[in-house]
Symmetry: C2
Subunit: 329 residues, 2 copies
């Protein structure tokens, strides 16, 4: 299971198996989406499969994730999603009314994200070879001129901003899956982030890095950026907003909220001169109302992420070996 968790095992699979097999540099960039040139247009292109269990959870469904997840991967290159593909793998015997509800969720989420589902596919596998519905979406969008957002661009001095409280998606899915009562008031944060990113780019095209901390949570995203850029990252442990019910659920379950998946949050690395204005623009946007500065890039400990505790000590936030919660998206 670990190879699908977005942690170290996933990264090894990419670095040692897929990238050499495909033999190209585009893939090796390891961003949420690839940025390509085609016919004079500068495009972002991304894909994700969705195997979340259960299909419906507080605040959303696999259909919402499939739209928002890929829309957000494109947004992390600065692109506004234009078109999505959507492919179903159905397990034989899945109720068609459930398929219909998921399709409706996809349609509604696409309208909310301002994206068109342009092409699709359906395959069916035998009972016992699937789990109701698996989805895949791929998306394309235009990258605005002058925008160059990628993990390699993080640099000492950059201000690290998160767009809102973390951990809600993972806790919402887990509480639904396990029938835990204490999670009843936590709903997934699944949301499209293209509008928020556009508002940030209106302040300055010179955002260095954007990342949506999904599998592996905030800690995995920060580690990927530290590794790709070679910069050190220091965050204030208490600066990261964690909703009280999420913190309580994580304490009960022995989870660290910094490692729990989010589906409607982003972390931004912004040059210090623009940080205040970008933060203000984020807070003016519905998807960024809870935005907060959580840390900075530092010249010390290059490639490593360190959290400063309330006691003034520091601890290493390392890349998780795997995801704490399998099939979270």
């Amino acid at each position: 299971m670990g190879h699908g968790g977005g942690g170290l095992l996933s990264a090894e699979l990419m670095t040692h198996l897929f990238a050499p097999a495909y033999g190209n540099e585009t893939l090796a960039g390891l961003a949420d989406s690839a940025v390509l040139s085609l016919g004079g247009a500068r495009l972002a292109f991304s894909t994700d499969s969705y195997v979340v269990r259960p299909l419906f959870f507080p605040g959303g469904s696999i259909g919402d994730l499939a739209v928002n997840g890929t829309v957000n991967d494109l947004a992390m290159s600065g692109a506004r999603a234009a078109y999505l593909s959507c492919a179903f793998i159905l397990e034989e015997g899945t109720d068609l009314t459930v398929v219909g509800r998921v399709a409706q969720a996809i349609g509604t989420a696409a309208v909310a994200a301002g994206v068109t589902v342009a092409t699709g596919d359906t395959k069916v596998v035998e009972t016992g070879h699937g789990d109701g519905i698996y989805l895949n979406t791929a998306g394309i969008g235009l990258v605005p001129a002058g925008v160059d957002i990628r993990p390699q661009r993080a640099t000492p001095g950059d201000v690290v901003i998160v767009s809102g409280p973390v951990g809600a998606h993972g806790v919402a899915v887990l509480s639904m899956r396990e029938g835990l009562e204490f999670g009843a008031d936590v709903v997934s944060d699944t949301a499209p982030l293209g509008g928020l990113v556009a508002a940030m780019l209106a302040v300055t095209p010179d955002l260095h890095v954007l990342r949506d901390p999904t599998r592996g949570g905030l800690a995995a995203s920060l580690n990927e950026i530290a590794t790709a850029s070679g910069t050190g990252i220091e965050i204030g442990e208490r600066s990261v907003p964690v909703p009280e019910p999420v913190a309580a659920a994580c304490a009960f379950l022995g989870l660290d909220p910094f490692y729990v998946a989010n589906e409607g949050r982003l972390v931004a690395f912004v040059p210090p001169d623009h940080a205040d204005a970008v933060l203000a623009a984020m807070r003016d946007h519905p998807q960024g109302a809870g935005a907060a500065v959580i840390g900075t890039c530092v010249p010390e400990h290059p490639g490593l992420v360190v959290a400063r505790t309330p006691l003034g000590t520091t601890r290493l936030l390392d890349l998780p070996l795997t995801e704490q919660l399998p099939r979270i998206c």
Copy 2:
């Protein structure tokens, strides 16, 4: 299973469930790929998931299908594939050497097709919720200026050409799956068709329809075109090339080769003035060496496909309710 078979049940799912849920006209075009405008570029965009069983079969693997299938869907709009996404859904416990062999097959097929795998994803599901490896690819490519290839453009007088013998892929997979000896000399026809289509477009940009007869075979593709265009189609039953071992296997199994899946063939609808030159160009190309004229579009029986038998009688070739062979691609 029928809803994934590429037949009538698949079409109903699209028409009555997905298209209304997504609420857009692009999807309703029902072509192999969508043709879109983005940033001044005219793009083809397509996706397919691949659930073929077994993963390796005579002549290819799920990796070959995942590359060639999507490359070919783009080619059916006249586009040369430029970039692919590739997403794995792995069943827990799948041997990583098998994953590596599939990744290598993807890399090799991508080189052969002249396409770059630009972005990817990996998810893992528990044992008993997958079947080794499921793949999804999406692809984008440029549609040349002046090219407008879609099923609605078939018109009485068009010459119907198939690029080579039909039925090999389905028989190769089935013989492997069932351990049938008589199919031992049949290998899948899986191949990229972008080069062949480019050679045809060099003769004339005015190709009316291209289709790769995968699930549901030649009969399903012809029916989709007859329905979309409202033209009648008449083919000569003996004009369709069927390799002898394929015909023998089909006779033994009670299959009709016109309904068996192909993964490296196309059917073209060409205005009569250009038909001879297009056929000659096809025969000059490695992927079209066995090309043959199989029929024409006729003003009679609009929307229906009729096969003329050697006795001079006709029979209706209707849309299959489902695929004869599940999980063929």
